[in-house]
């Protein structure tokens, strides 16, 4: 039982990060109908900015702010300079441009900062608090969980309570009608990318201290897992991303703990098939499943 609790806590803390990252993917999907394969590389780039600022100013919080700001700018830049000009003849072209961006970003980071690991300090203690003899969550894990929760609530408020959020949703779901109603659809698209990249930047800052450290490939694995989480939850649903992220985090923790570290890719596939064969649009798909 102790082992189960221990693995549950571990799964929750990693799952929270996957949730944040999956959320970023969902935001772009909702805004632009694109799975942003460059999300991981963009988040790493902003994390480099964040940690450079943090070490220059001596404050993690200034660094975090800088990373999120860099995320906003990078997201807007990628949309304005690149994605906007990708032909829509074929939806895969955007995926390929994103993959090209991954290579470019990782290579440039390697050239500028070197391919080595850089230490990434956590703003809180990473030693776990014990709960009835079981190593449970550390203060840092609590911060991660709290930060993700706050972002989810803020995004929910933004989309349901503010005019700009409503305009973004309208632009994404019915661009033609929105345009007729005077919504600047193209600006909403840029805003969607910026917002998603900012959430991605936050996720990057949260995940880096828990892994091997900051390096150009720091998010490669995280991206794959977060994509899985987003798909499991349903790409249209922010709530689905959070549930999917936590679910994937828990399952990976249990599988690693009980079956060994090698079996996780198999477990991920089984989870995906189990969910998608029953609900082809993910757990939280609102639209009717397509029948074939």
């Amino acid at each position: 039982m102790d082992r189960f609790l221990f693995l549950t806590f571990g799964g929750l803390s990693t799952g929270a990060v996957y949730a944040a990252f999956a959320l970023a993917l969902v935001l772009i999907w909702r805004a632009a109908r694109v799975v942003n394969f460059a999300q991981g590389a963009m988040a790493v780039a902003t994390a480099y900015v964040g940690y450079a600022v943090a070490s220059a100013t001596g404050s993690y919080w200034v660094g975090l702010g800088a990373a999120v700001l860099a995320g906003l700018l990078l997201g807007a830049l990628v949309e304005r300079v690149l994605m906007r000009f990708v032909g829509h003849a074929n939806p895969l072209n955007e995926v390929i441009v994103a993959l090209g961006l991954v290579l470019l970003i990782q290579a440039v980071l390697g050239m500028v900062f070197g391919n080595g690991y850089r230490p990434a300090a956590a703003p809180f203690d990473t030693d776990a608090l014990t709960l009835g003899g079981v190593a449970a969550l550390s203060p840092y894990d609590l911060w991660v969980l709290g930060a993700v929760l706050v972002v989810v609530v803020l995004l929910a408020l933004l989309f349901t309570r503010t005019p700009i959020g409503l305009r973004m949703r309208a632009a994404a779901f019915a661009p033609e009608v929105s345009r007729l109603l005077g919504v600047d659809v193209s600006r909403m698209l840029t805003l969607g990318w910026a917002l998603a990249a900012a959430v991605g930047a936050l996720a990057g800052m949260l995940v880096v201290p828990t892994g091997l450290g900051l390096h150009p490939h720091a998010m490669d694995l995280v991206f794959v897992v977060a994509f899985t989480a987003a798909v499991v939850g349903g790409l249209d649903s922010p709530a689905g991303a959070v549930v999917g992220g936590l679910l994937v985090g828990l399952i990976l923790s249990y599988v690693t703990g009980y079956l060994g570290p090698d079996t996780t890719p198999l477990a991920v596939l089984v989870l995906l098939l189990a969910v998608l064969l029953v609900r082809p649009g993910g757990l939280f798909s609102s639209a009717r499943a397509r029948h074939v």
Partner: protein, 379 residues
């Protein structure tokens, strides 16, 4: 489930000719009349291309011949892949893992004979056929699941498949020998060709033959009624169904054909070095395959050729760049490797922005512009 038996068999039979597959196609096969000439045209093209490449291999040094061989091995994969993604509209990100399936099948079959002391020229084609069959079967399983899924959801499942190779090879270490992989007897040129015949040239010929057969078969397939069904399903599933096309069966068959080609390509790829290892089939390979077919020109076999060339160029770009520029050591170290990746990333972005139809699309537009008076080529 009705599709299971026949389509698995079709994978085995395929190299003998496309006819067994066509017999199973949705609807009755079209009359042989006009198709016959298409076949002859393709055949002539294949013989011509094959002859040219063979003549070329005689002029090349060993390493260049290996490059030709790798292009041919990748061509088997990209040709089948572009049919699935480009013509049928199903996005798979797991073709690297399908290549691995073929590669491991070749290794296991060849080792099984080797351990029993059985030798013979027929083992190579047999092992490649087994690779094709085993991978087509894997494709059937994935295809059955895929037929229910669309767009990013299918991408998610196949992406998970792409990450499986290291896990499977470690879990079943007894069979696959973990991360070290398997080695099997290297393919050597027959004695008839002379004692000093370049072994790499022989490898290039094997790969060339596999690629020509694959492309020939696919070229006929896409011009057939099945090819039209593939496109119809891609363009509008509802309309296709109304037109009497069995959508799910078409999709599953497309996956089987595409997987078979990937298995053959993976098998040939393994034969070139007589090794397999999980590290040779990472997630990046699957993503690079996708880039190759899109940059080459999605849905066209000529684009698949471009893509295969690009994949080999990508593998060789780093060493080329390292040698071309001799830089001061501090800077050189940062650029080494990274520069090649940056260049490739830029190429991807620029090609996609400048030529949304890929290299083949760009070439076609160029040709069309050069002879504006002629009507636009095909379809």
């Amino acid at each position: 489930m009705t599709a299971t038996r026949p389509s698995a068999r079709s994978g085995v039979d395929r190299p003998a000719g496309p006819s067994p597959l066509r017999r199973l196609l949705p609807g009755a096969p079209a009359a042989a009349g006009p198709r016959g000439s298409t076949l002859l045209r393709h055949l002539a093209g294949a013989v011509l291309a094959g002859t040219l490449v063979v003549l070329l291999t005689n002029q090349l040094a060993p390493y260049q011949n290996l490059q030709v061989a790798r292009v041919c091995a990748f061509l088997c994969v990209t040709a089948g892949y572009t049919v699935l993604v480009g013509l049928n509209g199903q996005l798979s990100l797991g073709h690297g893992a399908l290549m691995a399936t073929g590669a491991y099948t070749v290794a296991l079959v060849q080792r099984a004979f080797d351990e029993r002391g059985v030798q013979g020229r027929w083992i190579l084609p047999l092992s490649l056929l087994a690779a094709l069959a085993a991978t087509a079967l894997a494709g059937l399983v994935i295809g059955l699941a895929a037929a229910r899924l669309r767009g990013p959801y299918l991408a998610g499942v196949t992406l998970a498949v792409a990450t499986l190779v290291p896990a499977i090879s470690t879990i079943f270490t007894g069979v696959f020998n973990g991360e070290q992989g398997l080695r099997f007897p290297a393919e050597t040129p027959p004695a008839v060709l002379g004692a000093y015949f370049q072994p790499e040239r022989w490898l290039a010929w094997i790969a060339l033959l596999a690629a020509l057969l694959t492309v020939l078969l696919l070229a006929n397939l896409v011009r057939s009624r099945f090819g039209r069904s593939l496109r119809a399903v891609r363009d509008d599933e509802v309309a296709a169904r109304l037109a009497g096309i069995h959508v799910a069966r078409t999709q599953v068959l497309a996956f089987v054909v595409s997987a078979g080609c990937a298995g053959l390509g993976g098998g040939v790829y393994a034969v070139l070095t007589a090794t397999v290892a999980p590290g040779k089939f990472p997630l990046e390979l699957s993503l690079f395959l996708l880039m190759a077919i899109v940059i080459g020109g999605l849905g066209s076999l000529a684009g698949a050729v471009w893509g295969a060339v690009l994949l080999v160029a990508l593998q060789d770009l780093p060493s080329l760049l390292t040698e071309t520029f001799s830089l001061p050591s501090g800077l050189a170290q940062r650029l080494e490797g990274n520069l090649a990746l940056a260049v490739f990333g830029l190429i991807l972005i620029v090609v996609m922005l400048a030529a949304p139809g890929g290299l083949h699309g760009a070439a076609r537009t160029l040709v069309a512009r050069l002879r504006t008076r002629r009507r636009a080529p095909e379809h």
